[in-house]
C-alpha cells in the first residue's frame, strides 16, 4: 500500500507540474492513470532488476500487475470507487476514513483536508497516521465487498465525494478559486453510484442534484482573467441549463422514500439558487438552512443561514443574529459582518472586511474581499 501511495503521490506531483505548463488534459483521469501505470511499471521493472537474481517468479508477478493496471474507461470508474470503498473501512472512525480517502485517492494535501474539516493541520496529520496503521493491522486489501458492507460504507463514501466537490467548488488553498477537475471527478463517481441499484439511494440522488445545480454556475463564476464573479453579477445566460435539468432529474429521484438528509436540504437550497427571481426564494432558503443546522452544526451552515436571514429580515436585523455566532477566527464570519454593517456603519464594515482579508489564505478570495471593501469605502463618500 505504501508503494501505491508513493506512486499516486508522484503522479499527482507530475500532474501539477505538467498541467501547470500544458494545461489540464482533456481526460484528466485517463492521464493520471496512464502516468500512474507507467510509474508502477517503472517501479516493478526496478524491483525485478534487483530481484531477478533472487527470485524468478517476479516476472509472472509483473505480468499480473500490468494486467491489473490496464487502462479501460469502465474499469477506471469502478476501480476508483472500489478503492474509496476499500479505504472507507470501519476499522477507522468515519472522519479518519474520509481523511484517508481524500489524501490517497483524491490527492488532497494535509492542509486541504484540514480546511475541509475546519481543523488544525496537526490534528489531521495524527489522524492520518493512526488511520494508516489501523488499516495495516486490518490487513487492508481492495477486494470484493459484501452488499451489506457496501451499504454500510456508503455514507462515508458520499461524504468523501461531497468534500471533494466542495474543495473543487470553493477551493481555499492555492491560487485558484475553483478547481473544476475535482468537481467533475466527484460528479463522475456519483454517477457510477447511481448506476448501481444497490447504491442508487435517495441520498446519492440528492447529492447528485446538489452537485449538478452548483456546477451549472461553474462557467459563470470565473471571468476571463480567472477572477471570481459574485453571484449577483453573473451572466445568467452562462448558467448551464442542461446541468440544471439534470439536477431536477436527480432531485425528483431523491424524493422517493421519506428520508430527508442534509444532502436533500442542500440540494433544495442549491435549487433555489438556480431560480432567478421569486418573492419566496429567500424565505424558502432560510427554512431549508434552519432545518439543515438542526441536523448538524457547522460554522459554514450557521453563517450561510445568517446571510439568508438577512435577505429575509434585512441586514440590520441580521447583525445581532450574526454576532451571536462568535466565530471570531473565521474569515467568512468577518466577511458576513462586513456586508451586514455596510449599509449602516461603514467604519465597522471596513474593520470587519480587513479582518476577513487578514484571515484568508487564498489569493483570489483576498481579491474578492478587497474589492468588496473598496466598494464599501467608496459608497461612504
Amino acid at each position: 500500500m505504501e508503494t501505491a501511495e508513493d506512486i499516486a503521490g508522484d503522479t499527482f506531483l507530475k500532474a501539477s507540474e505538467h498541467w501547470a505548463i500544458h494545461g489540464v488534459p482533456e481526460n484528466p483521469a485517463a492521464w493520471l492513470y496512464t502516468v500512474a501505470k507507467n510509474k508502477a511499471k517503472d517501479y516493478i521493472k526496478h524491483l525485478s532488476v534487483v530481484e531477478t537474481r533472487v527470485r524468478s517468479q517476479t516476472e509472472t508477478e509483473r505480468i499480473r500487475y500490468e494486467e491489473a493496471f490496464e487502462y479501460h474507461e469502465q474499469s477506471i470508474a469502478d476501480s476508483q470507487l472500489a478503492m474509496i470503498f476499500a479505504v472507507c473501512n470501519p476499522a477507522n472512525a468515519s472522519k479518519s476514513q474520509i481523511c484517508l480517502a481524500l489524501q490517497i485517492l483524491c490527492g488532497f494535501s494535509v492542509e486541504e483536508i484540514a480546511n475541509a474539516f475546519l481543523t488544525k493541520v496537526e490534528t489531521i496529520k495524527k489522524r492520518l497516521q493512526r488511520a494508516r496503521s489501523n488499516l495495516r493491522n486490518d490487513h487492508f486489501q481492495v477486494g470484493l465487498l459484501s452488499e451489506a458492507a457496501i451499504v454500510f460504507r456508503l455514507p462515508t463514501v458520499l461524504k468523501t465525494l461531497y468534500l471533494v466537490f466542495n474543495e473543487g467548488y470553493f477551493s481555499k488553498t492555492g491560487d485558484q478559486l475553483v478547481r473544476k477537475e475535482l468537481c467533475s471527478e466527484a460528479i463522475r463517481l456519483g454517477l457510477v453510484l447511481t448506476e448501481n441499484p444497490l447504491t442508487n439511494t435517495p441520498q446519492v440522488n440528492a447529492l447528485m442534484a446538489l452537485m449538478c445545480y452548483q456546477s451549472s454556475r461553474l462557467e459563470a463564476r470565473t471571468g476571463a482573467g480567472n477572477e471570481t464573479i459574485r453571484f449577483d453579477d453573473q451572466d445568467r445566460g452562462q448558467w448551464d441549463k442542461a446541468l440544471i435539468q439534470r439536477g431536477h432529474h436527480y432531485l425528483i429521484n431523491a424524493t422517493t422514500g421519506n428520508e430527508i438528509s442534509a444532502y436533500h436540504l442542500e440540494a433544495g437550497i442549491a435549487y433555489w439558487h438556480t431560480v432567478i427571481s421569486d418573492a419566496n426564494k429567500w424565505p424558502h432558503i432560510l427554512q431549508l438552512y434552519n432545518q439543515l443546522i438542526l441536523i448538524e452544526y457547522s460554522p459554514m451552515v450557521a453563517l450561510n443561514r445568517t446571510f439568508a436571514f438577512a435577505n429575509v429580515y434585512g441586514q440590520e436585523e441580521a447583525i445581532s443574529e450574526a454576532e451571536k455566532l462568535q466565530l471570531t477566527g473565521n474569515n467568512h464570519y468577518h466577511a458576513l459582518l462586513g456586508y451586514l454593517y455596510s449599509g449602516t456603519d461603514t467604519a465597522k464594515a471596513l474593520a470587519h472586511y480587513e479582518q476577513a482579508i487578514r484571515l484568508t489564505r487564498s489569493k483570489p478570495e483576498k481579491q474578492v474581499l478587497s474589492d468588496l471593501k473598496m466598494h464599501c469605502a467608496a459608497q461612504q463618500r
Binding site: L294, R305, E321, L325
Partner: protein, 113 residues
C-alpha cells in the same frame, strides 16, 4: 458548559396549532440556537389533545388530558448548552411564545449516569 431544559407552557389549546408565520418564527429561534452550536437536543412537541394526553394518579385514577388544575399545559421542550443559567434565560427570552401568552421554564439538567 451546563445543559438546561427549556420547557414550554401554553394556556390556550388554540395556540397549540401555530400559524405558518408563528411556525417560521419558532423555527428561526430554534435554528438560531443551533447556529451558535448551543442546541443539545431539539426536543419534542408534547401533544395536549384528547387521545394523546392522559394523567395517571394514585388509586388507579386516570384522567384525560394533561394537568388541567394549573390551567396551563406543557407543549414541548428542548435542551440547550450554556455557561450559566442566565445565558439560557437570555436564549429563552427571544422565543416568540410570549406573544401568545405562553411561558418557558428553564431547568438545569442533572445527568443520570
Amino acid at each position: 458548559m451546563k445543559e438546561f431544559a427549556l420547557i414550554f407552557r401554553l394556556k390556550d389549546l388554540a395556540d397549540f396549532q401555530p400559524s405558518p408565520e408563528q411556525m417560521q418564527e419558532r423555527m428561526n429561534w430554534l435554528a438560531g440556537i443551533a447556529a451558535q452550536n448551543k442546541l443539545v437536543d431539539k426536543g419534542n412537541t408534547l401533544l395536549p389533545i384528547a387521545g394523546s394526553a392522559k394523567t395517571v394518579k394514585a388509586d388507579d385514577v386516570v384522567t384525560d388530558g394533561p394537568y388541567t388544575e394549573i390551567k396551563e399545559f406543557i407543549s414541548g421542550y428542548i435542551v440547550v448548552r450554556a455557561e450559566t443559567i442566565d445565558e439560557a434565560v437570555t436564549m429563552a427570552k427571544e422565543n416568540p411564545i410570549f406573544m401568545v401568552g405562553g411561558n418557558i421554564e428553564v431547568r438545569e439538567v442533572l445527568k443520570r449516569d
